[in-house]
């Protein structure tokens, strides 16, 4: 790496001035995002923390003193435990699959192959359709006597059986998000200078070794991004679980997820205090996991 030539040591006051100016620009650049996030995420979350200690209905505070009863109810609820178990299984299944699929697709279409544009569009297709449309179509194809079962000769209702529902969702979502992950990895691959590959070719490094020892490690910022964003997305699963299970989390709680639990407490049972408590619990879980990711994969990053 070329080294920057050092100017003669500047007087301390102008160094301080330079740092202040840089900080000023920094704050200026992030000002609008921080305000937007503050208004529409931090404030609502703070509000949720507040109401989680009360009985809270549609029109506001209901009778009763403040207390941790909502947290008690959530943490001792068998259905919430099932939701946590489901989402753990789902996340552990879907995230590695998404990353592997997305990365593979990106590697494939990053090469000079014939019909590159065609393949890029084809691989990106499942991600284009809205989640409602694609889930409805897949529900249809994976019916107990739909196209898929016709081909493999089975009669299992894949999305409607308690045993296979979660894994069917893993398959469905890994497939539909692979195109999006592919785009993020494609962008990441562009940032790797071709010099690296030329050097590897000169050393007669094989394709697999080039990928594993050079490309893969250089994609670390992309890995961290995909892991965090899609990991959190997986933990917040709602849309497809709602469509597949009909909103009840069935059959027999097989499609129960934490966000579905929050949703039902809020908009079906109007128990906003309990929903907020569940939301805070979920946040703590996600935050802890993300912190762990930050300290492992996301290390050695700061400028």
């Amino acid at each position: 790496m070329a080294t920057a030539s050092q100017a003669a040591p500047a007087p301390r006051s102008s160094m301080l001035g330079a740092r202040l100016r840089e900080a000023g620009w920094g704050y200026g650049f992030v000002a609008v995002p921080i305000v937007v996030f503050g208004l529409f995420f931090v404030y609502p979350f703070g509000y949720a923390i507040y109401i989680s200690f009360f009985h809270w209905g549609i029109l506001g505070k209901q009778a009763g003193a403040a207390g941790t009863f909502n947290y008690h109810a959530v943490l001792h609820d068998r259905v919430f435990h099932i939701a946590l178990k489901n989402i753990a299984e789902y996340t552990i299944g879907v995230v590695p699959l998404e990353m592997a699929l997305g990365l593979s697709l990106a590697l494939v279409i990053n090469q000079k192959i014939h019909g590159r544009n065609f393949f890029r569009s084809a691989f990106y297709f499942p991600s284009i359709a809205s989640s409602v449309a694609i889930t409805t179509i897949m529900l249809y194809i994976f019916n107990s006597d739909g196209l898929f079962n016709h081909i493999i000769g089975s009669h299992t209702p894949w999305f409607q059986s308690a045993g296979t529902a979660i894994w069917s969702l893993v398959g469905l979502n890994a497939w539909t998000t692979s195109g999006t992950v592919m785009i993020y990895y494609l962008a990441g691959l562009q940032a790797i200078s071709t010099d690296v590959y030329e050097a590897a070719a000169l050393d007669n490094t094989g394709a697999w070794r080039t990928f594993w020892k050079i490309t893969f490690p250089l994609l670390r910022p992309a890995h961290f991004f995909v892991l965090v964003v899609f990991g959190i997305g997986a933990l917040k699963l709602f849309d497809q679980a709602f469509i597949v299970g009909g909103g009840s989390g069935g059959p027999n709680n097989a499609t129960q997820t934490p966000v579905l639990y929050i949703y039902r407490d809020a908009f079906s049972n109007f128990d906003f205090g309990k929903a907020a408590a569940a939301g805070v619990v979920l946040f703590v879980i996600i935050f802890t996991l993300t912190l762990v990711q930050r300290l492992t994969v996301g290390r050695q990053e700061a400028a």
Binding site: L59, S161, R264, A266
Partner: protein, 397 residues
């Protein structure tokens, strides 16, 4: 590229400022605007209601009704508006959530308006009006209703003797004949939804009730319902490659299903070639059925309550309802409005129908528990007694 980006950004800012000034239009002050909202059950229904509303607008020049359909999560969208104290003036309320919405204080009690306009509520069927009454307070008028009936594929029934079953014993017998002749070619004679919104009718037929759900009668009904599946005479729609039993009937995968008035327009448009008959629901010790009904209700936070009341009372009154049921898309909830022909199988259920929701504020929460337990019982991983005790405690809240 960068210069173009700069121009685009400038345009963007201008456009955003323009958008910020775009507002919905307002009407002149002599006419009161009343907003009406509901969900959409079918393209014909939306068009029909818009027509009814247009007739109201013509006959009531001082009120203008803005009708808009909420095409998605009705409950969530309405809850958000209640919380923001900005709801539509008149809107649908499903009987299963009427109890909770009333308890949350978002529905306007109608007793005062009924008294001052001397409105005759005796014309509403009592069980239907009762679904929207808590204690003595009325929170809405039923706009229509449907009970369950039995729909049977005519050809398949012919192969099994041609006589529609009338009670549990004959239901089982007909199904057995159908199964032995495999009339559905790989399906099952009966399609049963894994849903208390169907099974509860059988509980009432056995003499049980939701208020005493742990009784032997209720257990007998559940055992009969699930028993049909265990005997291979019935199964759930997902095992027949269908989203609901209506679809199974259309695909020829089931011969006998139990659905309400809504299955008629569905079969007409999606499976027009399937010949099926509509028969009254079976009985056991007594007749038992469920009344699915929706009300027009008034928002507590409405800013035009008097005008909204005029609309509500007209829509649920003889004039409005006659127009609404004229296409046979729903059954009238008033005794002074006649249903169109061919609906006898549904209307005969009126004396036995229990309003779905029962005015219980814990009902919609309990319903989720009820159905999750039922799928477990059907799969064999939970006992009937355990489910019934879960249901009893869920209904208490």
């Amino acid at each position: 590229m960068r210069k173009r980006l700069g121009v685009v950004l400038g345009l963007l800012i201008a456009v955003v400022l323009l958008a910020a000034t775009a507002q919905a239009g307002t009407r002149g002050s002599k006419v009161t605007t009343v907003t009406l909202s509901g969900w959409s059950s079918g393209p014909d229904e939306d068009a029909l209601l818009q027509q009814v509303v247009n007739n109201f607008n013509k006959s009531h020049p001082s009120i203008h009704v803005d009708y808009s359909v909420i095409n998605g999560d009705y409950g969530t969208a309405m809850t958000a508006r209640f919380a923001a104290h900005n709801p539509p003036d008149v809107f649908y309320v499903d009987s299963s959530v009427a109890g909770s919405w009333a308890q949350q204080g978002v529905l306007q009690p109608l007793n005062g308006y009924i008294k001052s306009s001397k409105y005759d509520t005796s014309k509403f069927f009592p069980s239907l009006l009762g679904a929207f009454t808590v204690g003595k307070t009325i929170y809405g008028f039923p706009k229509d209703w449907s009970p369950l009936a039995m729909e049977i594929n005519k050809g398949m029934l012919g192969q099994a003797g041609g006589r529609a079953p009338t009670n549990w014993a004959s239901l089982q017998k007909v199904a057995q004949t159908m199964a032995s002749k495999d009339v559905t070619h790989g399906g099952k004679p009966i399609c049963l939804s894994p849903d208390w919104a169907r099974m509860l009718a059988f509980v009432y037929q056995a003499g049980g009730s939701l208020s005493n759900i742990t009784s032997p009668a209720a257990a007998a009904a559940v055992n009969f319902y699930v028993g049909l599946m265990n005997k291979g005479l019935a199964t759930t729609p997902d095992k027949l490659g269908s989203g609901w039993c209506g679809e199974a009937l259309g695909k020829g995968k089931a011969a006998i299903i139990f659905e309400g008035n809504w299955v008629l327009p569905y079969m007409k448009s999606t499976y027009p070639n399937v010949q099926y008959g509509v028969f009254p629901m079976v009985k056991d010790k007594t007749g038992g059925n469920l009344a699915f009904t929706v009300s027009y209700s008034l928002a507590k936070d409405s800013k035009n309550k008097q005008a909204a009341w005029t609309l509500l009372s007209w829509l649920a009154g003889k004039q409005g309802m006659t127009q609404w049921v004229s296409k046979g898309l729903a059954l009238p909830s008033r005794s002074d409005v006649k249903a169109i022909g061919g609906r006898q199988a549904f209307l005969s259920a009126a004396p036995f129908a229990h309003g779905w929701g029962f005015g219980n504020p814990h009902f919609s929460a309990a319903y989720t528990v009820m159905n999750n337990d039922l799928t477990a019982v059907i799969a064999g991983s939970k006992s009937v007694a355990s489910m019934l005790s879960d249901v009893a405690s869920a209904l208490k809240g």
